[in-house]
Amino acid sequence: MKRAELWIGLVLVAGVVALALLSFVWTPFNPTGVGSAPRLAPPGWPHVLGTDHMGIDTFSRILVGARSALYVGIIAVGIAALVGVPLGILAAWLPRWGAEGMMRAVDVAYAFPALLLAILLAGVFGASTETAMLAIGIATIPAFIRVTRAGALSVLASDYVLAARASGTPVPVIAVRHVLPNIAHLVGVQASVSFAMAILAEAALSYLGLGTPPTVPSWGRMLGDAQTYLFSHPGQAVWPGLAIAGAVLGFNLVGDGLRDFLDPKLQEVS
Amino acid sequence: MTSLLQVRDLSIAFGRKDPVVRGLDLDLAAGQRLGIIGESGSGKTVTALAIMGLLPDNARVTGSIRLDGTELVGLSDRALSRVRGDRMSMIFQEPMTALDPTMTAGRQVAEAFRLHRDRDAGRARTAVLAMLRAVGFDDAERVADSYPHQLSGGQRQRVVTAMALVNRPGLVICDEPTTALDVTVQATVLRVLDEVLEAVGASCLFISHDLAVVSQLCSDVVVMLNGRVVERGTAEQVFTDPRHPYAAGLVATARLDLLEPGTRLPTVADHVRVP
């Protein structure tokens, strides 16, 4: 059962990646320029998913949208992991009061979800893909700190780390040689789950007009555009939503599946 | 002799694994007290839970369990719940965790009463206090208004006993009720149990690995090994003249008073190969 979850997740994620890669070399129509195609055409041929209010092929936009979603996800999760993992190891290393203070700060950070931070930053710097990625990345750091610290604490308490410390191995060396390899799977699971959340956040921001700019196709903005024509052409609101849900489901399933696959202890007793 | 409890050809397995209890037969007359002896893993607790209908839903139970003529195997959870706590009840091994930590002791005993007897809160309170006095609490009011964490292990086990007996059930199943307690507390809990079982006139299925405890309370004994009954008889018979080598081993390890000073302590393995 759990194995099936992982496989379905991997297939969905592979599908999104494939769509994104495909969009670099081929889209059935120009995904950005105004075409000569009829506007708001229903699904059919040659526009398999129809066209939007500008007469642009929806399927082409979905393909390129996958690129936007993955782009934001990779950068945001990258920022979060690059900052969060070292901080998490540090928090595990710090004396009690230091770690305590740091985790309190992490608690406060949970009051700033990605979207709120992104809205705040958009107000200051203006809306852009970069602002959105930065905000989602920063807001995701606490999750990585927590996971890393929990994992690092148990590694640091192990005998071989004690032995390494006793023999005078410098702290950064221990962190890279012993701690990182042993918490890699935890970070991997977190990355997958955070990726799903990043895609959701990016979609919401683009829908609000605070993420990916109008010139670049993104699933969230497509939904925003589709809502305008919901009364007359509801079909256009279906495809981008399915794409978002599929991608998010995929990354969530991979995260869950990996967790159970890598750490049998966490599996519930049957 | 009419049986209160009649178990025939009972087999229990979990999931697709091999059965942990096979072809078990038991008979218990009204008022009779039967001890079930065996080590952990012999299937005695699983048998008790099967009679109560408290096994997890991946358990497969076959055979027959009749309480006062009512077939219990195959009954729905709803139908069984009407029998549980009313005509049969159970006292568990771990008094420290057997009670809900968020409710007062009195309210938990009252729940058992109100479920089957009388929904009226006032009359339930009266019955609860009487029952708490019967299990040896002089300060029944204080105990009733206490939360479990405010009571000791022995006190909690007496509260559980009160829950089990407040409805005067015909059958009380005790699963190692004193194993987790101090020796001094054990004696009190056993005496209280003896008294209230007598007062209520309930039959008792008493599960233990401890022959000495069983002999204090029970008239009859069965010995279980690997999910089967290997020996049955009156307590006296089994203790003085065990026929199955495993039972003989258990008796030898329990009767250290018969030991010649200076000889090695006996083990069950001296008598039978325990797999």
């Binding site: 700033f112 979207l115 | 719940s81 057997a98």
Partner: protein, 313 residues
């Protein structure tokens, strides 16, 4: 109890510093932002003096914080209206939405979580868990758009957008909230189901759950009577942590249903770069999240008698 209050105050202070730094220090000269490129040096200086931005940042920060403590959230940079006046009438919308969404989410998640836990080896449990997994992947605003299409446009049962204050017409208020609350609540419920399930699974393994069944509760009623009380501790924590997510969800949902709440105001002010108002709203939302989580901490003591004893001793 005092320690919890201290943590709350410290968290609030930390959050206010972060918000202030982002909105006041990062954008540079606010006066230049407001007046645009054509402004003269004198105009800029006058504007700075009017806004108080010619003072040191620390003084500005303290001025802002103490102002809020007395209910003065500052003034809009552009309209000059007090932020409190702008926020006031809109808070009702957002509160209705957040409270409604959270309640609906719990109302759905508790029974479904119970099914997922009790029937985990049978198809109802599998189905529930799967539905929750899929529900978690659905963006709330997409759910909102689909609801608008089905019930607002096609069937015409409910208004597809807009808001009526509860004081003016409670029935219209409720009718306008049904779809947004559903969109917010159902998606949030999917997230909660998993937590409820694991909290209940833990209870199912407890000895006292078995005791409750042994006195004659059925599986379901034992869970309802003893499970919920014992799972409450972890569930209250989860609800506290999810509150931030629900508030953020409400901001987006307000946009979907064109509701005049704090979220819409926030987004309008963001597009106008009126950071004085943005700052006030964000601070208010963060305050709500932190305050509720502090209350969650306090509620542990009410739920668990063991903690109560420790607290009073």
């Amino acid at each position: 109890m005092l320690a919890r209050l201290g943590i709350f105050a410290l968290s609030l202070a930390l959050a206010s510093v972060v918000i202030f730094v982002i909105t006041q220090a990062l954008p540079g000269d606010v006066a230049a932002v407001i007046l645009g490129h054509g402004a003269t040096a004198e105009q800029l200086a006058a504007k700075r003096a009017e806004l108080g931005t010619d003072r040191p940042f620390v003084v500005q920060y303290l001025d802002w914080v103490f102002g809020m403590a007395t209910g003065d959230f500052g003034r809009s940079w552009f309209s000059g209206l007090p932020v409190a006046t702008l926020i006031g009438p809109r808070a009702e919308v957002t509160i209705s939405l957040v409270v409604g969404g959270l309640l609906l989410a719990l109302l759905i998640a508790l029974p479904l979580g119970a099914v997922a836990a009790l029937k985990r080896r049978q198809w109802p449990g599998f189905l529930t868990s799967t539905a929750a997994q899929v529900g978690m992947a659905v963006p709330a605003f997409w759910a909102g758009i689909l609801l608008v299409f089905v019930f607002g446009v096609t069937l015409g049962w409910l208004p597809p957008n807009g808001y009526v204050p509860i004081g003016r017409d409670p029935v219209a208020w409720a009718r306008h909230l049904v779809l947004p609350v559903t969109a917010l609540g159902v998606v949030q419920a999917a997230v909660l189901v998993r937590y409820v399930r694991s909290a209940f699974l833990e209870v199912l393994g407890e000895d006292h759950y078995r005791t409750a069944r042994s006195i004659g509760w059925t599986r379901w009623r034992a869970l309802a009577r003893h499970g919920v009380r014992n799972a409450a501790l972890s569930l209250v924590t989860v609800v506290g942590l999810q509150l931030a997510a629900v508030i953020v969800g409400a901001i987006v949902i307000e946009r979907v249903f064109v509701l005049p709440g704090l979220g819409s105001l926030l987004l309008d002010m963001v597009s106008q770069h009126d950071l004085a108002v943005v700052r006030g709203i964000v601070m208010l939302l963060v305050l709500a999240v932190l305050a509720i989580n502090a209350l969650v901490d306090v509620s542990y003591v009410l739920i668990d008698p063991r903690l109560r004893a420790r607290e009073s001793s």
